[in-house]
């Protein structure tokens, strides 16, 4: 038995990283609007000026984190593997999680696609057991579809005894 678990085989496609960056951009825009409001209120009520700097710093930090840093880390951590008897997913930002789902436990598999994902021809796939739901995000649509089909076949083959 080897001590170090071997790295999982598949990664999220590169396009996924782009989409995450895009989400980060939206986040930043939202924060910017909020902070804009704060700055306006500060100006209007003549609150102390350090609030300006804080507001601007917040926008910069959010932009750096949610556009540049976080998607990168998340993309690096995301790995998955669908084997005959189980699905293994690795995810996480600061805390890396590795989840093992036996094929027998899988109840159903869904793919979903919002407008942005559709534009990039990507889809999320979510795997539900009786108690939990696990998502593998940002797969190429055709891959996601074939993976969904594959999981549902494997899950059907696996004998159920709940």
């Amino acid at each position: 038995m080897c001590n170090v678990r071997k790295q999982l085989m598949y990664q999220i496609p590169r396009k996924g990283l782009t989409v995450w960056r895009l989400y980060g951009l939206f986040n930043t825009a939202l924060t910017a609007i909020l902070m804009g409001a704060v700055i306006f209120v500060t100006y209007y009520f003549e609150w102390p000026s350090f609030i300006y700097y804080i507001a601007i710093a917040v926008v910069v930090v959010v932009a750096l984190a949610s556009i540049w840093l976080f998607p990168r880390i998340r993309w690096d951590h995301w790995r998955y593997e669908v084997r005959e008897h189980e699905i293994e997913i690795q995810s996480g930002l600061f805390i890396v999680e590795r989840t093992l789902i036996p094929m027998v436990r899988v109840q159903h598999v869904d793919t979903s696609q919002g407008p942005i994902l559709k534009k990039y021809d990507l889809a999320n796939i979510s795997i539900s057991t009786a108690a939990t739901t696990h998502v593998i995000p940002m797969l190429i649509t055709s891959d996601a579809d074939s993976l969904r089909a594959r999981i549902s076949i494997l899950a059907r083959v696996a004998e159920d005894d709940v």
Binding site: I101, M103, R105, V162
Partner: protein, 491 residues
Amino acid sequence: MMSDRYKLHLVSAVVDFVKGLRELILPFLIIFFANGFSVTFNPGDSNFWSTLIPLGIFLLIIVLRLINGFLKWWTYVYWFEEKELRVEYGLFVKKKRYIPFDRIQSFNYKEGIFHRLFGLVQVMVETAGSTNGKPEVILTAITKEAANQIELVTRKSKEQAELQADDLEVEELAEPTARVIHKMNTKSLLILATTSSSMGVVVAGVAAVLSQFAELIPFERIFEELSSFIKFGFIAISLAVFMTFLVTWLVAVIITFINYYNFTVVEEDDRLTITRGLLEKKKVTIPLNRIQAIKVVENPLRQIFGFAAVAVESASGGFGGEEKKITLFPLIKKKDLMNPMQELFPHFVWQQTLTKPPKKAKSFFYRLDFIWLLPVVALGSYFWFPYGLLSILVIIPVIALGLWQFKTAGFAINGNQLTFCYRIFSRVTFMVEKKRIQALEARQSYFQKRRELTTVEVTVMSGLTGAAAKVPNLENANAEEIMKWFEKSSS
């Protein structure tokens, strides 16, 4: 085929109505709080309309509820046909639900005060598919004979089906033997009340109530008069403290008696039947094969005296979502635990040696707490300067609890059984079989990675959301071992 149609008892309309009222109490109170209790019926008063409008709305809702409850009773029918329990109700929107007998997992019963006045019972029909936490069918109030009849019809039909399935089986359907596993007497109920962790909550409640009365008591005058008799003042205070505890204890005892009076666990025909309750009697049946995991919980007080509570996570929840965890033994001496559990769950191993987190993990159990503790202490010290510094002392119990959690944590693998032992405040021993595990998760933060530690979490099915147990900060190799063990299940 029997196709007599049965109706519910009229009381069910009342029960539904009262249940509806209970849901209304909270919004009612909120609105009156918001109004600052300025209730007035004087048309000239400025508060007149803000009283009348909500009151009117509430009255309207109450009347609607009453009509609704009555209509439901009026239209509700159930009958047996083609090996199915069939239920129909609704005036404008007719709802029909047909449940095949062999899909019925269990019947659960509940007798509220209204039920008991008329010798009625509420029946909840549980099926394997009702995973959304709700029973498939609820018959709000029927007579006990009718309830027995439903169970009888179902059982007969099931047995017939089984007989047809294997003709070889000779007719040896002897009456299933019922075996009392556990029964609580008054003494253990008292201990249960005294050691329950809800005592703390009750203390807070009593203190709050007493502090309300405190405004009525002219403390200042009393203290002035008594200040000369310091000794007497001391007695008065200790008497007050004592009284608080006495009242608290009494409340805890009363609550415990209402909930757990006559708590009995019976094993019969591979299913467990749990009966309990003083005013409201509840009877839950769980098929043994629906039990997903066993949880032995010892709160600190009970741990000292060698007591524990045992709960099971069941796939089909007892009374809807909130009671998915079913208590098997509310209180039992730990050394008396082994025998009945061994009998009930022969495939579980009860004595085992735990693998503990390594020494280097020790600090991980409390150091995260500093992150929220530091600002609290800093702010406390800053704003209440000299005395605020005392808040530093909070760190001591936090570290102590962390060390205690470290000492408790551990896991064991025995064949197909995984045991997790951990503590948040109470010590929990969580036992699960491989085939019941829905998902296994290993988690590692950046700092854990540097020290080669991993947190492992296991999830089983229980009610709607599932139940999870986790052991933090295990050695990497140990976490790996658990993952490997789980993977092997199929390969």
